[in-house]
Symmetry: C2
Subunit: 108 residues, 2 copies
């Protein structure tokens, strides 16, 4: 965990922000997109569209959700768009959830 957590490991981000990040992950298509982004090098929208069997506009929206949540980085590149997973941010979400779970388990 190299990303500096704004909260201590045993502390919490507020429910609001944790929920927001998890919401971005709470859709099968977006999880699939994340997997594909991390596995692929190209990371353009089109490629995801081919992989996913959804309309291009729909995929673009899903990507936007991930970007807005800060889980995916976006960089326009010619007529392509480069999307890539923000590993640190992702690790952060996972850590937040883990912290929540830990506190729930240790509390009993």
């Amino acid at each position: 965990m190299n990303a500096p957590l704004t909260e201590k490991t045993c502390g919490f981000a507020d429910s609001q922000s944790v929920a927001a990040k998890l919401a971005a992950l709470s859709h099968p298509a977006r999880i699939e997109i994340l997997r594909h982004l991390s596995a692929s090098r190209s990371c353009c929208c089109r490629e995801v569209v081919d992989h996913l069997d959804l309309a291009q506009s729909t995929v673009s929206q899903h990507l936007r959700v991930l970007v807005d949540a800060g889980l995916v980085r976006y960089k326009p590149d010619r007529q392509r768009s480069r999307y890539e997973v923000d590993s640190d941010a992702l690790a952060n979400v996972s850590a937040s959830l883990a912290a929540l779970v830990t506190s729930c388990c240790s509390g009993r």
Copy 2:
């Protein structure tokens, strides 16, 4: 991690089921409820209502979402309802997310 994962650590639950569990966690009120459940001993609906400043019906619905997702156990007790966090299930979700994150990070 004492819960036996049905998939290998490096494998995945399908996106669908992971997404469903995360969806249950993707609301501030439900996260708050989880925290309260784990911190409190009583775990009845009323107490959560007092803690949360939401209508009783709304809280009941949130609890139902958590129960349906398998993250909270429900047991009727007299006129009360006992809700308690299913630590194993919660740990499982966390592990699934961690596995996803790990694979995304290791892939690059």
